[in-house]
Protein backbone atom coordinates (compact mmCIF):
# COMPACT_ATOMS: atom_id res chain seq x y z
CA UNK A 1 0.00 0.00 0.00
CA UNK A 2 1.08 3.55 -0.70
CA UNK A 3 0.47 6.76 1.26
CA UNK A 4 0.74 10.24 -0.19
CA UNK A 5 1.18 12.80 2.57
CA UNK A 6 0.22 16.27 1.36
CA UNK A 7 0.86 19.08 3.82
CA UNK A 8 -2.10 21.45 3.97
CA UNK A 9 -1.28 25.02 2.85
CA UNK A 10 2.27 24.19 3.88
CA UNK A 11 4.06 27.54 3.80
CA UNK A 12 1.18 29.38 5.47
CA UNK A 13 0.82 26.59 8.05
CA UNK A 14 4.51 26.77 8.94
CA UNK A 15 4.10 30.50 9.56
CA UNK A 16 1.06 29.80 11.73
CA UNK A 17 3.00 27.15 13.67
CA UNK A 18 5.95 29.49 14.21
CA UNK A 19 3.69 32.37 15.17
CA UNK A 20 0.72 30.86 17.04
CA UNK A 21 -1.23 34.13 17.12
CA UNK A 22 -1.67 33.68 13.36
CA UNK A 23 -3.65 30.46 13.86
CA UNK A 24 -7.22 30.88 12.74
CA UNK A 25 -6.33 34.03 10.79
CA UNK A 26 -6.11 34.45 7.02
CA UNK A 27 -2.38 34.23 6.25
CA UNK A 28 -0.98 34.95 2.82
CA UNK A 29 2.64 34.08 2.10
CA UNK A 30 4.25 36.16 -0.63
CA UNK A 31 7.45 37.96 -1.57
CA UNK A 32 8.04 41.36 0.00
CA UNK A 33 4.46 42.44 0.83
CA UNK A 34 5.32 46.07 0.10
CA UNK A 35 6.25 45.21 -3.48
CA UNK A 36 4.49 43.69 -6.42
CA UNK A 37 4.40 39.95 -6.77
CA UNK A 38 2.18 36.93 -6.51
CA UNK A 39 0.66 34.86 -3.72
CA UNK A 40 2.95 31.96 -2.87
CA UNK A 41 0.53 30.26 -0.49
CA UNK A 42 -2.74 31.06 1.23
CA UNK A 43 -3.98 29.56 4.48
CA UNK A 44 -7.35 27.84 4.48
CA UNK A 45 -8.81 30.84 6.28
CA UNK A 46 -7.90 33.02 3.26
CA UNK A 47 -9.31 30.70 0.63
CA UNK A 48 -13.01 31.46 1.14
CA UNK A 49 -12.15 35.02 0.02
CA UNK A 50 -11.02 33.60 -3.31
CA UNK A 51 -7.29 33.96 -2.67
CA UNK A 52 -5.20 31.33 -4.45
CA UNK A 53 -1.52 30.63 -4.98
CA UNK A 54 -0.22 32.33 -8.10
CA UNK A 55 -2.71 35.21 -7.89
CA UNK A 56 -1.25 38.74 -8.14
CA UNK A 57 -0.73 40.20 -4.70
CA UNK A 58 -2.72 43.32 -5.55
CA UNK A 59 -5.77 41.18 -6.33
CA UNK A 60 -5.32 39.19 -3.10
CA UNK A 61 -5.20 42.45 -1.13
CA UNK A 62 -8.40 43.58 -2.77
CA UNK A 63 -10.16 40.28 -1.98
CA UNK A 64 -8.77 39.87 1.52
CA UNK A 65 -7.45 43.20 2.84
CA UNK A 66 -7.34 42.11 6.48
CA UNK A 67 -5.19 39.05 5.92
CA UNK A 68 -1.75 38.80 7.44
CA UNK A 69 0.75 39.18 4.58
CA UNK A 70 3.96 37.38 5.47
CA UNK A 71 7.16 37.44 3.46
CA UNK A 72 7.99 33.84 2.66
CA UNK A 73 11.24 32.21 3.65
CA UNK A 74 12.11 29.19 1.49
CA UNK A 75 14.89 28.03 3.81
CA UNK A 76 12.44 27.82 6.70
CA UNK A 77 10.08 25.61 4.70
CA UNK A 78 12.83 23.36 3.37
CA UNK A 79 14.08 22.79 6.91
CA UNK A 80 10.59 21.85 8.07
CA UNK A 81 10.22 19.59 5.06
CA UNK A 82 13.43 17.77 6.07
CA UNK A 83 12.14 17.36 9.63
CA UNK A 84 8.98 15.81 8.21
CA UNK A 85 11.06 13.53 6.00
CA UNK A 86 12.85 12.29 9.13
CA UNK A 87 9.48 11.53 10.66
CA UNK A 88 8.30 9.65 7.56
CA UNK A 89 11.49 7.59 7.58
CA UNK A 90 10.51 6.49 11.07
CA UNK A 91 7.44 4.89 9.47
CA UNK A 92 9.08 3.22 6.47
CA UNK A 93 12.48 3.39 4.77
CA UNK A 94 10.76 3.73 1.39
CA UNK A 95 9.95 7.44 1.23
CA UNK A 96 9.94 9.44 -1.99
CA UNK A 97 9.79 13.21 -1.48
CA UNK A 98 7.58 14.41 -4.30
CA UNK A 99 7.84 18.12 -3.59
CA UNK A 100 8.65 20.30 -0.62
CA UNK A 101 5.23 19.53 0.85
CA UNK A 102 4.38 16.08 -0.50
CA UNK A 103 5.88 12.62 -0.06
CA UNK A 104 5.01 9.06 -1.04
CA UNK A 105 5.44 6.36 1.59
CA UNK A 106 5.54 2.73 0.42
CA UNK A 107 4.45 0.38 3.20
CA UNK A 108 5.30 -2.89 1.44
CA UNK A 109 8.34 -3.62 3.60
CA UNK A 110 6.62 -3.09 6.96
CA UNK A 111 6.52 -6.35 8.90
CA UNK A 112 2.94 -7.31 9.66
CA UNK A 113 1.39 -3.88 9.01
CA UNK A 114 0.32 -1.76 6.11
CA UNK A 115 -0.44 -4.59 3.72
CA UNK A 116 -4.20 -3.99 3.62
CA UNK A 117 -6.06 -0.75 3.01
CA UNK A 118 -7.47 -0.88 6.54
CA UNK A 119 -4.05 -1.28 8.13
CA UNK A 120 -2.52 1.41 5.87
CA UNK A 121 -5.34 3.77 6.82
CA UNK A 122 -4.60 3.17 10.50
CA UNK A 123 -0.95 4.06 9.89
CA UNK A 124 -2.04 7.18 8.00
CA UNK A 125 -4.22 8.24 10.92
CA UNK A 126 -1.38 7.78 13.42
CA UNK A 127 1.02 9.68 11.20
CA UNK A 128 -1.39 12.56 10.67
CA UNK A 129 -1.80 12.90 14.45
CA UNK A 130 1.95 12.79 15.05
CA UNK A 131 2.54 15.51 12.46
CA UNK A 132 0.01 17.68 14.25
CA UNK A 133 1.30 16.92 17.74
CA UNK A 134 4.97 17.46 16.95
CA UNK A 135 4.86 20.21 14.32
CA UNK A 136 1.42 21.78 14.66
CA UNK A 137 0.86 21.22 10.94
CA UNK A 138 -2.13 19.75 9.12
CA UNK A 139 -1.68 17.00 6.54
CA UNK A 140 -4.08 15.32 4.16
CA UNK A 141 -3.22 11.73 3.35
CA UNK A 142 -4.26 9.59 0.41
CA UNK A 143 -4.12 5.83 0.88
CA UNK A 144 -4.11 3.70 -2.24
CA UNK A 145 -2.98 0.56 -3.94
CA UNK A 146 -0.58 2.53 -6.15
CA UNK A 147 0.99 6.00 -6.40
CA UNK A 148 -1.61 7.40 -8.78
CA UNK A 149 -4.51 6.46 -6.52
CA UNK A 150 -2.73 7.66 -3.36
CA UNK A 151 -1.92 10.98 -5.01
CA UNK A 152 -5.43 11.61 -6.26
CA UNK A 153 -7.01 10.37 -3.02
CA UNK A 154 -4.98 12.90 -1.03
CA UNK A 155 -6.89 15.72 -2.71
CA UNK A 156 -10.39 14.36 -2.04
CA UNK A 157 -10.72 15.65 1.53
CA UNK A 158 -8.73 18.70 2.61
CA UNK A 159 -7.60 19.94 5.03
CA UNK A 160 -6.63 17.17 7.46
CA UNK A 161 -8.49 14.48 5.54
CA UNK A 162 -7.68 10.82 5.03
CA UNK A 163 -9.08 9.16 1.92
CA UNK A 164 -8.63 5.49 1.18
CA UNK A 165 -9.34 4.16 -2.30
CA UNK A 166 -8.80 0.96 -4.23
CA UNK A 167 -9.17 0.85 -8.01
CA UNK A 168 -12.92 0.28 -7.85
CA UNK A 169 -13.57 3.12 -5.44
CA UNK A 170 -11.20 5.30 -7.47
CA UNK A 171 -13.44 4.83 -10.50
CA UNK A 172 -16.53 5.57 -8.44
CA UNK A 173 -15.05 8.87 -7.25
CA UNK A 174 -13.21 10.10 -10.34
CA UNK A 175 -15.01 8.75 -13.40
CA UNK A 176 -17.77 11.36 -13.20
CA UNK A 177 -15.22 14.16 -12.79
CA UNK A 178 -13.77 16.45 -15.44
CA UNK A 179 -10.89 14.80 -17.27
CA UNK A 180 -8.55 17.45 -15.88
CA UNK A 181 -9.03 15.89 -12.43
CA UNK A 182 -6.76 13.06 -13.58
CA UNK A 183 -3.18 13.40 -12.34
CA UNK A 184 -1.03 14.37 -15.31
CA UNK A 185 -3.77 15.97 -17.38
CA UNK A 186 -3.19 19.72 -17.53
CA UNK A 187 -5.24 22.44 -19.20
CA UNK A 188 -3.67 21.90 -22.64
CA UNK A 189 -4.10 18.10 -22.61
CA UNK A 190 -7.62 18.60 -21.31
CA UNK A 191 -8.37 20.80 -24.34
CA UNK A 192 -7.04 18.17 -26.72
CA UNK A 193 -9.06 15.42 -25.04
CA UNK A 194 -12.23 17.49 -25.03
CA UNK A 195 -11.73 18.19 -28.72
CA UNK A 196 -11.96 14.41 -29.15
CA UNK A 197 -15.19 14.37 -27.14
CA UNK A 198 -13.49 13.03 -23.99
CA UNK A 199 -14.75 15.24 -21.19
CA UNK A 200 -14.62 13.02 -18.08
CA UNK A 201 -12.17 10.58 -16.53
CA UNK A 202 -14.72 7.81 -17.20
CA UNK A 203 -14.93 8.76 -20.87
CA UNK A 204 -11.14 8.65 -21.05
CA UNK A 205 -11.14 5.14 -19.58
CA UNK A 206 -13.43 4.01 -22.39
CA UNK A 207 -11.74 5.94 -25.18
CA UNK A 208 -10.75 3.83 -28.20
CA UNK A 209 -7.11 2.85 -27.74
CA UNK A 210 -6.14 3.13 -31.43
CA UNK A 211 -7.46 6.70 -31.56
CA UNK A 212 -5.61 7.63 -28.38
CA UNK A 213 -2.37 6.04 -29.53
CA UNK A 214 -2.57 7.70 -32.90
CA UNK A 215 -3.27 11.08 -31.35
CA UNK A 216 -0.96 10.98 -28.29
CA UNK A 217 1.48 8.10 -28.92
CA UNK A 218 2.57 6.13 -25.83
CA UNK A 219 1.03 8.79 -23.62
CA UNK A 220 -2.41 7.80 -24.97
CA UNK A 221 -2.11 4.27 -23.59
CA UNK A 222 -0.79 5.59 -20.30
CA UNK A 223 -3.72 8.01 -19.96
CA UNK A 224 -6.27 5.23 -20.43
CA UNK A 225 -4.54 3.07 -17.83
CA UNK A 226 -4.46 6.00 -15.42
CA UNK A 227 -8.17 6.62 -15.95
CA UNK A 228 -8.75 3.03 -14.77
CA UNK A 229 -6.67 3.75 -11.67
CA UNK A 230 -3.78 1.59 -12.82
CA UNK A 231 -0.21 2.64 -12.20
CA UNK A 232 2.91 0.51 -11.92
CA UNK A 233 5.31 3.33 -11.04
CA UNK A 234 7.49 2.42 -8.09
CA UNK A 235 8.17 4.62 -5.09
CA UNK A 236 11.80 5.67 -5.47
CA UNK A 237 13.35 6.04 -2.02
CA UNK A 238 14.88 9.46 -1.55
CA UNK A 239 18.39 8.05 -0.99
CA UNK A 240 18.33 6.56 -4.50
CA UNK A 241 17.57 10.02 -5.78
CA UNK A 242 15.97 11.23 -8.96
CA UNK A 243 17.88 13.67 -11.10
CA UNK A 244 16.13 16.97 -11.75
CA UNK A 245 14.78 17.48 -15.26
CA UNK A 246 15.45 21.20 -15.31
CA UNK A 247 16.61 24.10 -13.18
CA UNK A 248 15.30 27.61 -13.45
CA UNK A 249 14.59 30.94 -11.82
CA UNK A 250 11.95 33.56 -12.50
CA UNK A 251 11.15 36.96 -11.10
CA UNK A 252 8.17 39.31 -11.09
CA UNK A 253 9.52 42.79 -11.82
CA UNK A 254 8.83 45.65 -9.40
CA UNK A 255 6.75 47.29 -12.12
CA UNK A 256 5.94 46.57 -15.75
CA UNK A 257 9.05 47.42 -17.73
CA UNK A 258 9.95 48.05 -21.37
CA UNK A 259 13.54 49.19 -20.86
CA UNK A 260 15.66 46.73 -22.91
CA UNK A 261 18.80 47.36 -20.88
CA UNK A 262 17.07 46.64 -17.60
CA UNK A 263 15.30 43.59 -19.00
CA UNK A 264 18.52 42.15 -20.39
CA UNK A 265 20.20 42.82 -17.04
CA UNK A 266 17.41 40.81 -15.47
CA UNK A 267 18.00 37.98 -17.92
CA UNK A 268 21.69 38.09 -17.05
CA UNK A 269 21.00 37.87 -13.35
CA UNK A 270 18.59 34.96 -13.86
CA UNK A 271 21.13 33.20 -16.11
CA UNK A 272 23.75 33.67 -13.41
CA UNK A 273 21.49 32.20 -10.73
CA UNK A 274 20.63 29.19 -12.89
CA UNK A 275 24.29 28.62 -13.79
CA UNK A 276 25.28 28.74 -10.14
CA UNK A 277 22.68 26.12 -9.23
CA UNK A 278 23.74 23.89 -12.10
CA UNK A 279 27.38 24.00 -11.02
CA UNK A 280 26.56 23.55 -7.34
CA UNK A 281 24.54 20.41 -8.09
CA UNK A 282 26.96 19.12 -10.73
CA UNK A 283 24.85 19.47 -13.87
CA UNK A 284 25.11 20.97 -17.32
CA UNK A 285 22.25 21.45 -19.75
CA UNK A 286 21.61 21.44 -23.47
CA UNK A 287 18.35 23.40 -23.69
CA UNK A 288 17.73 26.99 -22.58
CA UNK A 289 14.18 28.24 -22.05
CA UNK A 290 13.01 31.81 -21.60
CA UNK A 291 9.65 32.69 -20.06
CA UNK A 292 8.05 36.09 -20.54
CA UNK A 293 4.80 37.41 -19.11
CA UNK A 294 3.55 40.74 -20.33
CA UNK A 295 1.41 43.36 -18.62
CA UNK A 296 -1.73 41.62 -19.93
CA UNK A 297 -0.63 38.39 -18.20
CA UNK A 298 0.01 36.71 -21.54
CA UNK A 299 2.82 34.23 -21.04
CA UNK A 300 5.10 32.79 -23.68
CA UNK A 301 7.92 30.28 -23.29
CA UNK A 302 10.52 29.76 -25.97
CA UNK A 303 13.35 27.28 -25.89
CA UNK A 304 16.41 26.44 -27.90
CA UNK A 305 18.57 23.31 -27.91
CA UNK A 306 22.30 23.91 -28.16
CA UNK A 307 25.09 21.66 -29.33
CA UNK A 308 26.99 21.32 -26.10
CA UNK A 309 26.04 21.04 -22.46
CA UNK A 310 26.74 24.29 -20.59
CA UNK A 311 26.79 25.53 -17.01
CA UNK A 312 28.22 29.03 -17.36
CA UNK A 313 26.12 32.16 -17.08
CA UNK A 314 27.62 33.66 -20.22
CA UNK A 315 26.57 30.72 -22.38
CA UNK A 316 23.10 30.55 -20.89
CA UNK A 317 22.65 34.30 -21.16
CA UNK A 318 23.74 34.35 -24.81
CA UNK A 319 20.99 31.88 -25.77
CA UNK A 320 18.42 33.45 -23.44
CA UNK A 321 19.10 36.92 -24.87
CA UNK A 322 18.80 35.68 -28.44
CA UNK A 323 15.43 34.08 -27.64
CA UNK A 324 14.34 37.22 -25.85
CA UNK A 325 15.29 39.53 -28.71
CA UNK A 326 13.50 37.33 -31.22
CA UNK A 327 10.29 37.20 -29.21
CA UNK A 328 9.94 40.48 -27.35
CA UNK A 329 7.72 42.89 -29.28
CA UNK A 330 8.28 45.88 -27.03
CA UNK A 331 5.34 45.34 -24.68
CA UNK A 332 5.80 46.10 -20.97
CA UNK A 333 7.07 42.96 -19.25
CA UNK A 334 5.78 41.76 -15.89
CA UNK A 335 7.72 38.55 -15.31
CA UNK A 336 10.83 36.92 -16.72
CA UNK A 337 12.27 33.46 -16.24
CA UNK A 338 15.22 31.43 -17.45
CA UNK A 339 15.61 27.67 -17.14
CA UNK A 340 17.97 25.01 -18.44
CA UNK A 341 16.86 21.46 -19.23
CA UNK A 342 18.16 18.32 -20.95
CA UNK A 343 20.52 18.03 -18.00
CA UNK A 344 23.58 15.81 -17.78
CA UNK A 345 25.91 15.18 -14.89
CA UNK A 346 29.00 17.35 -15.26
CA UNK A 347 31.22 14.27 -15.32
CA UNK A 348 29.29 12.87 -18.29
CA UNK A 349 28.82 16.06 -20.25
CA UNK A 350 30.87 16.50 -23.36
CA UNK A 351 32.69 19.80 -23.34
CA UNK A 352 34.67 21.85 -25.74
CA UNK A 353 38.41 21.67 -25.34
CA UNK A 354 39.22 25.18 -26.41
CA UNK A 355 41.42 27.45 -24.38
CA UNK A 356 38.69 30.09 -24.14
CA UNK A 357 36.42 27.51 -22.57
CA UNK A 358 39.12 26.58 -20.09
CA UNK A 359 39.53 30.22 -19.09
CA UNK A 360 35.78 30.53 -18.55
CA UNK A 361 35.83 27.41 -16.41
CA UNK A 362 38.70 28.72 -14.29
CA UNK A 363 36.86 32.02 -13.84
CA UNK A 364 33.67 30.24 -12.78
CA UNK A 365 35.55 28.17 -10.26
CA UNK A 366 37.11 31.30 -8.79
CA UNK A 367 33.70 33.03 -8.62
CA UNK A 368 32.15 29.97 -6.98
CA UNK A 369 34.91 29.89 -4.37
CA UNK A 370 34.28 33.53 -3.49
CA UNK A 371 30.55 32.90 -3.21
CA UNK A 372 31.04 29.75 -1.17
CA UNK A 373 33.04 31.76 1.30
CA UNK A 374 31.30 35.13 1.36
CA UNK A 375 27.80 34.47 0.07
CA UNK A 376 25.88 34.80 -3.19
CA UNK A 377 25.85 38.59 -3.20
CA UNK A 378 29.61 38.91 -2.92
CA UNK A 379 30.25 38.81 -6.66
CA UNK A 380 27.76 39.26 -9.48
CA UNK A 381 27.87 40.04 -13.21
CA UNK A 382 28.21 43.79 -13.69
CA UNK A 383 25.38 43.82 -16.23
CA UNK A 384 22.87 42.76 -13.55
CA UNK A 385 23.64 45.59 -11.12
CA UNK A 386 20.90 47.89 -12.40
CA UNK A 387 18.41 45.13 -11.85
CA UNK A 388 19.65 44.55 -8.30
CA UNK A 389 19.47 48.23 -7.44
CA UNK A 390 15.90 48.43 -8.68
CA UNK A 391 14.80 45.37 -6.78
CA UNK A 392 16.53 46.56 -3.65
CA UNK A 393 17.73 43.13 -2.67
CA UNK A 394 20.20 40.57 -3.79
CA UNK A 395 19.88 36.89 -4.57
CA UNK A 396 19.39 34.45 -1.71
CA UNK A 397 18.52 37.19 0.77
CA UNK A 398 22.09 38.00 1.72
CA UNK A 399 21.18 41.64 2.25
CA UNK A 400 19.54 40.99 5.61
CA UNK A 401 22.88 40.25 7.23
CA UNK A 402 24.47 43.25 5.60
CA UNK A 403 21.66 45.55 6.69
CA UNK A 404 22.15 44.35 10.23
CA UNK A 405 25.87 45.04 10.08
CA UNK A 406 25.19 48.52 8.69
CA UNK A 407 22.79 49.24 11.53
CA UNK A 408 25.29 47.92 14.02
CA UNK A 409 27.88 50.27 12.57
CA UNK A 410 25.47 53.22 12.95
CA UNK A 411 25.04 52.35 16.61
CA UNK A 412 28.71 52.86 17.27
CA UNK A 413 30.14 49.43 16.73
CA UNK A 414 32.39 50.58 13.94
CA UNK A 415 32.37 49.06 10.50
CA UNK A 416 30.31 46.04 11.33
CA UNK A 417 33.12 44.46 13.27
CA UNK A 418 33.02 43.07 16.76
CA UNK A 419 33.66 45.89 19.26
CA UNK A 420 36.19 43.80 21.17
CA UNK A 421 39.86 44.04 20.13
CA UNK A 422 40.51 41.96 17.03
CA UNK A 423 42.06 38.55 17.38
CA UNK A 424 45.05 38.59 15.01
CA UNK A 425 44.68 34.85 14.40
CA UNK A 426 41.13 35.24 13.11
CA UNK A 427 40.53 36.92 9.79
CA UNK A 428 36.86 37.64 9.56
CA UNK A 429 35.36 37.95 6.10
CA UNK A 430 33.69 41.30 5.57
CA UNK A 431 30.15 41.11 4.34
CA UNK A 432 29.80 42.24 0.78
CA UNK A 433 28.56 45.71 0.05
CA UNK A 434 26.49 46.47 -2.96
CA UNK A 435 28.31 48.50 -5.61
Amino acid sequence: MILLVDMDAFFASVEQAHHPHLRGRAVIVCGDPSRRGVVTAASYEARPFGVRAGMPLAEAKRLCPNAEYVEGNPRKYVEKSLELLEMFLGVTPDVEPFSVDEAFLDLKRLPGRGQTLESATEIARELQQRIWDRHGLGASIGVGTNKLIAKMASGVQKPRGITTLDEEKFRGVFWPQDVQALWGVGPKMSEHLKALGIATVGALAHAPRPVMEERFGVVGEHLIEAAWGRDRTAVIPYHEGVDPKSMGHEVTLPEDCRDPEFLEGTLLRLSDQVARRLRTDGFRGRTVTVKLRDFRFRTITRQRAIGIAIDDHGGIFEVARALWRENWKGEPVRLMGVSVSALEHTSEAQTELFAERERTKALQEAVDKVRDKLGEASIVPAGSLAHRRALGHVPFGAVSGRTAIDRRAKQGYGDGADPSPPDPTQVKPRLPRED
Binding site: H19, H21, N66, K80, A398, S400
Partner: protein, 84 residues
Protein backbone atom coordinates in the same frame (compact mmCIF):
# COMPACT_ATOMS: atom_id res chain seq x y z
CA UNK B 1 1.38 42.75 11.00
CA UNK B 2 4.97 41.66 10.61
CA UNK B 3 7.63 44.31 10.44
CA UNK B 4 11.20 43.77 9.35
CA UNK B 5 13.70 45.33 11.73
CA UNK B 6 17.14 43.75 11.54
CA UNK B 7 17.98 45.43 14.85
CA UNK B 8 21.00 44.24 16.82
CA UNK B 9 19.80 42.91 20.19
CA UNK B 10 21.38 41.58 23.36
CA UNK B 11 20.14 38.07 24.03
CA UNK B 12 20.46 35.97 27.15
CA UNK B 13 21.05 32.47 25.86
CA UNK B 14 20.97 28.99 27.38
CA UNK B 15 22.77 25.95 26.05
CA UNK B 16 20.77 22.84 26.90
CA UNK B 17 21.51 19.32 25.66
CA UNK B 18 23.85 20.66 23.04
CA UNK B 19 21.39 23.14 21.58
CA UNK B 20 21.14 26.87 22.00
CA UNK B 21 17.95 28.66 23.06
CA UNK B 22 17.25 32.34 23.57
CA UNK B 23 15.84 33.00 27.05
CA UNK B 24 15.23 36.74 26.96
CA UNK B 25 16.38 39.74 24.98
CA UNK B 26 16.49 43.50 25.17
CA UNK B 27 14.82 45.35 22.31
CA UNK B 28 13.77 49.00 22.04
CA UNK B 29 14.57 49.56 25.71
CA UNK B 30 12.55 46.71 27.13
CA UNK B 31 13.24 43.16 28.17
CA UNK B 32 11.28 40.47 26.33
CA UNK B 33 11.06 37.15 28.12
CA UNK B 34 10.91 34.23 25.65
CA UNK B 35 7.99 32.07 26.63
CA UNK B 36 8.40 29.52 23.87
CA UNK B 37 10.64 28.80 20.90
CA UNK B 38 8.13 27.90 18.20
CA UNK B 39 10.50 27.18 15.33
CA UNK B 40 14.13 27.04 14.26
CA UNK B 41 15.86 27.04 10.92
CA UNK B 42 19.20 27.98 9.41
CA UNK B 43 20.49 29.77 6.34
CA UNK B 44 23.92 29.77 4.83
CA UNK B 45 25.61 32.97 3.82
CA UNK B 46 28.84 31.83 2.24
CA UNK B 47 30.69 29.87 4.92
CA UNK B 48 28.63 31.37 7.69
CA UNK B 49 25.50 29.69 9.02
CA UNK B 50 22.82 32.02 10.36
CA UNK B 51 20.53 30.36 12.91
CA UNK B 52 17.00 31.66 13.18
CA UNK B 53 14.55 31.26 16.06
CA UNK B 54 10.83 32.03 15.97
CA UNK B 55 9.89 32.92 19.53
CA UNK B 56 6.83 33.96 21.52
CA UNK B 57 7.01 36.57 24.24
CA UNK B 58 5.03 36.47 27.47
CA UNK B 59 2.23 38.58 25.97
CA UNK B 60 1.78 36.41 22.87
CA UNK B 61 3.97 38.84 21.00
CA UNK B 62 6.01 37.12 18.33
CA UNK B 63 9.54 37.62 16.97
CA UNK B 64 12.21 36.12 14.80
CA UNK B 65 15.77 36.27 16.13
CA UNK B 66 18.91 35.50 14.13
CA UNK B 67 22.21 34.34 15.60
CA UNK B 68 25.33 34.97 13.56
CA UNK B 69 28.33 33.11 14.94
CA UNK B 70 30.73 35.38 13.05
CA UNK B 71 30.17 38.22 15.53
CA UNK B 72 28.95 36.53 17.50
CA UNK B 73 25.84 38.65 17.35
CA UNK B 74 22.07 38.51 17.53
CA UNK B 75 19.66 40.40 15.33
CA UNK B 76 15.92 40.78 15.73
CA UNK B 77 14.86 40.27 12.15
CA UNK B 78 11.07 40.45 12.40
CA UNK B 79 8.43 41.32 14.94
CA UNK B 80 4.68 40.92 14.86
CA UNK B 81 3.13 44.10 16.07
CA UNK B 82 -0.53 43.13 16.16
CA UNK B 83 -3.30 42.59 13.61
CA UNK B 84 -2.87 44.41 10.29
Amino acid sequence: MFESHNDPVDVLTAFVDGSMRPIRFRWQGRIVRVRRVTGQWARREGQAVLRYFAVQGSRDDSYELCYDARGPSWVLSRAWTGPA
